[in-house]
Every structure is written in structure tokens, then in C-alpha cells.
Amino acid sequence: MRKTRLMDVGALAVISLATGVLAPATPVFAGDQLTITSFGGPSQDANRKAIFEPFSKESGIKVNEDVFNGEISKIRAMVQSKSVSWDVVDLYPGLAGQLCAEGTLEPIDWKKLGLDRSSFIEGETTDCGVPEVVTGKIIAYDKDKFPNGPKTIADFFDTKKFPGKRGLQKRPVENLEWALIADGVPLKDVYKVLSTPAGVEQAFKKLDTIKQDIVWFQTSSQATQLLADGQVVMAAAYSHRIVDAIKNSGKHFQIMWDTLQWSMGVWVIPAGSPHVDAAYKFLAFFALPQPQANFSNIMPCGPTNKKALALVDPAILPDLPNAPDHMANALRVDAAFWSEKSDELAQRFTVWVAK
């Protein structure tokens, strides 16, 4: 009899334990802090060194970090469920424009920031973001494989002259543009052509010509890995990742700066962030020329504050995407175009890739 009583008690304990687990946890006390989410990797390390840590020291605000891969769905889900745990997020301006239009981001109050929008590269692009960084998508290749490497984007599509697999990031952005340029569309007309159904057709047709030779990768960091493993002979990559691999890992990579596609990163604040004031303090600190130049010295991405470029180490300058030399034959990735068309083209692209 005693045994059964014990069993009853045990069962009850199990149940109460289970319900205890299911009960909502009480939120922990939140001090003066904010959570910044970026893409991780060396660029976030550089941000930490050049910006987060000096900012924490100066303001006393603790910076927590998180990493994501640009999935705006996560921001949407947070805002919709009113449980925003990211206060400042690193985002592409096209996506920022999309989220801004649907009210998922806080509009930036530039007066409150105490900054002039025109002192930034493309400060006017989106109402919900502060330009963070200029990045450049380039074609990088293995110098050991091609001592006399590709010179133009048409070479990238020329599998006879340059045989071997090519690595491309699995998304329509940049790839459709490059396909059109390689097919002879002048830089200034790329988005005009891509706005027409015939232009989209033309881009996919051009991509079809190398489809068998493409290795698709998901995140931008995989490009250097694929190149290093010899899995591909050339790959689309962010210039700063390649510079980093050359300088710090001694890889024999070469950057083809021709038809560089540059774009921006912007800092955004998800709507309903519990630490808006701290976020504004952070953005005001980040926007100063000196922290930006410090960042570019560690991580060869372009600064957005127009005064910062002059403060960058002259030895580093040629590695930056917005160095004057590189902008001659460069395409600005049209954030407005992509914020309008990305759903449509992504659907088409996803299907095209999987066929």
C-alpha cells in the first residue's frame, strides 16, 4: 500500500514539474544595455573592436551581440509577436526599405541623432536606416589556377577560356545584374532592362549558359571556403572577405575589381525595441568619422561618413570598395529596384535554381 502511495506522489511530482516548465518564465531585469545583430564573422569582430567596445566604454551601455543571416522574417516575427530582442540590426537597404514600408522598423529621427543625412553616402535612401558600411561584391579567383585571370565579367561566363566551377551566392541579387552586363548590357541600363520581362528572360538565359558549372552557396562566408578548398576556380564574394583571406590567411586569391557591384549596409531599429534611446546613442557614436575609419582599418569595408575616407590608412585604401579607382566601372546595386522586385524575382530564381 505504501508503495502505491509513493507512486501517486511521484506521478504528481512529474505533473507539477511539467506544468512548472510550461509556465512562462519571468523576464530578467534589463539594465542599460542593447543587443546589436549583425552577420557575424570577421566583420562583426572588427565592429566589436572599432565600435562596440569604445562605445560601451564611453557611454556605459552594455552591448550584447547576436548573429543572423539577413533573415528579415526573424525581425518580422519579433515585431509581430511584440517580443523584440534585437535593438540595432545590420540590414541591406533594400530589405530595410521593404520593412520600413510595412512598419516593421522605427523611422530614424535624424534630429534626435544630431546628424546631417547629406554627410553620408546615400543617407537619403531609406527613412528607417543609418548607412553603416559600403560593401563590394566582386569576382575573386585563384591566382594559382589562372595566373592570367579573368579581366571582365564576360570572362566569368566564358567557361571555355576559364574552365572550372564558379561559386555564386544563391540569390537573384547581383547574379542577374552580372548576367546582363556579361551579355552586353551597359552598366547604366542594367536595371532598366531588368525591369522588363524580356530583360529577366535574357538574364536567366545568360545564367543558363553556365548553370552546369555553378556551385551555389548560401552565406557569403562560404565563397572563400570554396575557393580555398579548390571546389571552385572563381567565386562571387565580398571584397573585404577576400582581402582578409589574402592578408591574414595567405591565400593566393586575386580580386577582379571590374564591374564591382557595391551596396550598403544600414543599421536599423526594429519597431518596438525596448532600448530605443540606447540605440540612438549607439548610432550617433557609430556615425562619427573616426570610429568608422578605425573600422575600415581593421576590416576593409568602405566607411559611409564622407569625412571618414580621408582618415583611413593609405595602405588600406586600395582594398576598400569605394576607393576612387574602383568606382570607375562599378554598378550600384539598386536597393529600390530590389525592394520592389525581390519577391517576384526570388520566386522565379528559386524555381530556376532547383530545376
Binding site: 512529474v14 533573415e71 510595412e102 579548390g230 571546389q231 519577391d343 517576384e344 526570388a346 520566386q347 528559386t350
Partner: protein, 416 residues
């Protein structure tokens, strides 16, 4: 028990023995139920509820109904032939104004974009302009603001939005969609992928199941017949990878199969090939890695069934004059069938849901339905599509299970 029952029966409270017994029985059942309850709740909350919710999401979508209430209400009387009348356009203008003020235009645009790709942004921009309108007539003004409001297909989409349930996601999942005037048509070839995708998923799963059976059966036989000291060692070698994480094993295959990986380097060193063979990012890589991961799932049920087959059966058959193969085929093999069925079913069903492994070692045209479900869930946030694909996959799995049950009989399956 008997003596206890007799004792109870003699107690002076006059309660019949039968009542007492049922009461005891009921208490025992209740106690057992309470013990099972935590697991039951867990399965209910962690499994049945989300799956039910997913199935529901596949057919339920009230975006347009809740965000454009006036328009959808006004459209319920529309016959779908000509453009709607002025009162409907007035309702639309009201809805657009409200949506613009509440910043819910994004959700509407997204929903419309699913069915009419590319229109979402035009609809958002027309809402911005419509938000300044103060008086009618709305019909010509709205069409002038943006010609999308003069399009039949937009209006028939809005009319479909007046119902909270839509077969759209399920149709799309099998490559059908709505035409301009609301009839169901096949999706154009540049967006039709899902029939291929389901067939591909089926083909890869069947292929992997067959391979695991082919490779696993002899090993299981060996394991079951070898003396214990060898078979134990062999068993550890079979089970060891089983204890390693799936991700680790997949990455290990990347290391082995890549262009300058272990296998290619070895084959080149042996002069068996002169150029590195393409072993990864294609069907070969997918099949190899999946077969490796699934092997123990097929092998172990077969092994444990083989363990229960007395060796004396074969010996009896041989002594009655059967040849070695005949004895094996007629006496031994049929007895392993329940194990084969269990192992293959397990592997096949697990294969249907694969997504990480094909993503890492497969090419773009080795991606299975799971990858599209993940794509819609994480990247496009189109949960309707994700749910519809999931629902179809689940239904297909259950259907296959049902057919299997009819053919083989699940009660004949043995895990050991």
C-alpha cells in the same frame, strides 16, 4: 488477489465484491493514466497541436478578409464579369487609406504578390496615393492612380479573399494556380517546380532505401551468424556512426568527397582517374551521404529479426536435401521479411523529410521538398506555402503507410 478479494467481500460495509473490484480496477487505470499523462501532454502540445496548426495554415488565410474588410464584403455580390461598381471602389479607397494609416499595406502587398508576382509594390504605392483622396468618384481615380485596379485578375483575387479559406497554397504546391478570371490553370513552366520536387523526393527516398537494404542485409546476416566476440566488434562499428550527430557525418562526407578530398586524392594517387571526379554537389553525394546516415535504421531491425530465426531451420532444410541457396531463399529469407519491411519503412519515411544533407552535399537539383519547406518558412516567410507542402508530404507519407499496411500488414513488422 483471491484472498484479498475474499477479505474485502467479508468486510461489513455491505458493498458487493464486484463493485469493489471495479473500483480497484478503475483506480489502477487512473494511476496508469496519470503516469502516462506527462508524455501525452507533451505529444499533444509539442507535436499534435503544431501539426494540426500547420495543416490548418495550409488552407486558412484571412489576410485580405481582415485587412481589407470593406472591399471583400462589397465584392461578395460581384458577379466577376465586368469591373466592380463605384461602391466597391469607394470601399477599396477606404480600405487602402486605413491600411496605409495602420501600416498594414505590407501584409496586403505580400499576399497579393504570392498570386500575382510583381504587383505588390504597385499596390503599396497606389495606397500611398489613395491615402490622400477625399471624395469620389473613386473608380476612375483609382484606375488612373494605378491601372492594377482596372485588372480583372486583381479583382478576382480580392473576391477570393472574402473567404477565410483558400485552396491556393495547396494548388500551388502541385503546380496549379488561379487564372485571370479565377479558373484553375497549370502554373507556367518558369514557376512550376513542385510536381518535379515531390517525384524527386520520392525517387531519392526509394533509391536510398534500396541501397541501404542492399548494403545492410548482408551485414545484418553476418552480424547475426558470427560468433559473439566478432559480431560485437562489428556491431560497435555499425552503431558508432549512429551515435554521431547527423551534421557531423554530413560534413565528414564533404571532406571525403570534395574536389581535392580524400577519395579523389586517393583515386588520383592510384592513377585510377586523371581528373578529380565530381562526387559532391550532385546526386552521387546526396545518395552516398544519405545511404550512410540511414544504413543503421535499415540494418538494425533486420538484424534483430535475424537473431530470432533459429539456425536449426536452415540445417533442417539442408538435411532434407535443399541446396544452400534454395534453403536460404525458401526458409531463411521469408522469415526476415518483417525486419526488412520495418527497416525499409523506417528509412523510407525518414528520407522523405531530409533537408540538411541534400543542402550540404547535393546540387541544386537534388534538393527535396524539405528544403522548399525550410525556404518558405525561414526566407520568404510564406507559411501558407510551407504548410501546404508539409501537409501534402504528411498526407503522402500516411497514404504510403496505409498502402504498405494493406500490402504487408503493420502488425507483421518486427523490430526484434
Amino acid at each position: 488477489m483471491v484472498t484479498m478479494a475474499v477479505q474485502i467481500a467479508r468486510e461489513p460495509d455491505g458493498m458487493p465484491l464486484r463493485t469493489k473490484l471495479t473500483r480497484v480496477e478503475r483506480r489502477r487505470k487512473l494511476r496508469a493514466f496519470i503516469l502516462v499523462l506527462p508524455l501525452l501532454l507533451f505529444i499533444l502540445i509539442g507535436f499534435a497541436l503544431p501539426i494540426g496548426r500547420m495543416m490548418f495554415n495550409a488552407i486558412h488565410d484571412d489576410t485580405l478578409l481582415t485587412l481589407m474588410p470593406r472591399t471583400t464584403a462589397a465584392l461578395s455580390a460581384w458577379d466577376g464579369k465586368d469591373l466592380p461598381d463605384e461602391s466597391t471602389y469607394a470601399a477599396l479607397a477606404e480600405d487602402l487609406k486605413q491600411a496605409w494609416a495602420q501600416r498594414s499595406m505590407g501584409a496586403i502587398a505580400k499576399r497579393i504578390n504570392y498570386e500575382l508576382p510583381g504587383l505588390g509594390s504597385q499596390i503599396t504605392s497606389s495606397a500611398r496615393k489613395a491615402s490622400t483622396l477625399s471624395a469620389g468618384p473613386y473608380k476612375p481615380t483609382l484606375i488612373e492612380i494605378n491601372p492594377v485596379w482596372g485588372r480583372q485578375d486583381v479583382w478576382s483575387l480580392l473576391k477570393r479573399g472574402s473567404l477565410a479559406y483558400t485552396p491556393y497554397y495547396l494548388l500551388r504546391s502541385v503546380d496549379y494556380q488561379y487564372g485571370p478570371s479565377g479558373q484553375i490553370v497549370a502554373s507556367p513552366p518558369e514557376t512550376a517546380i513542385f510536381q518535379d520536387m515531390f517525384l524527386r523526393t520520392l525517387a531519392i527516398s526509394i533509391g536510398v532505401t534500396a541501397l541501404t537494404l542492399l548494403l545492410g542485409f548482408p551485414v545484418a546476416y553476418l552480424l547475426a551468424t558470427l560468433p559473439a566476440k566478432y559480431s560485437n566488434l562489428l556491431m560497435i562499428m555499425v552503431v558508432l556512426p549512429f551515435w554521431t550527430s547527423l551534421l557531423v557525418r554530413t560534413v565528414a562526407w564533404v571532406v571525403l568527397l570534395q574536389q581535392h578530398g580524400v577519395i579523389n586524392e586517393m583515386l588520383m594517387a592510384l592513377h585510377m582517374i586523371s581528373q578529380p571526379a565530381q562526387l559532391i554537389f550532385n546526386r552521387i553525394g546526396t545518395m552516398v551521404a544519405m545511404t550512410h546516415i540511414q544504413l543503421p535504421f535499415t540494418l538494425l531491425p533486420i538484424y534483430s529479426v535475424m537473431k530470432t530465426i533459429p539456425p536449426i531451420h536452415i540445417r533442417a532444410a539442408r538435411s532434407l536435401g535443399a541446396g544452400p541457396f534454395y534453403a536460404f531463399w525458401k526458409v531463411y529469407f521469408p522469415q526476415t521479411l518483417p525486419g526488412i519491411a520495418a527497416g525499409c519503412l523506417l528509412t523510407f519515411i525518414l528520407c522523405l523529410g531530409y533537408y540538411i544533407t541534400p543542402a550540404m552535399v547535393g546540387g541544386p537539383n537534388d534538393q527535396m521538398v524539405g528544403s522548399f519547406i525550410a525556404h518558405y518558412t525561414n526566407e520568404e516567410l510564406n507559411w501558407g506555402m510551407a504548410s501546404a507542402l508539409g501537409a501534402i508530404l504528411l498526407t503522402a507519407t500516411l497514404l504510403l503507410y496505409y498502402v504498405f499496411n494493406k500490402l504487408v500488414g503493420v502488425d507483421r513488422i518486427k523490430m526484434g
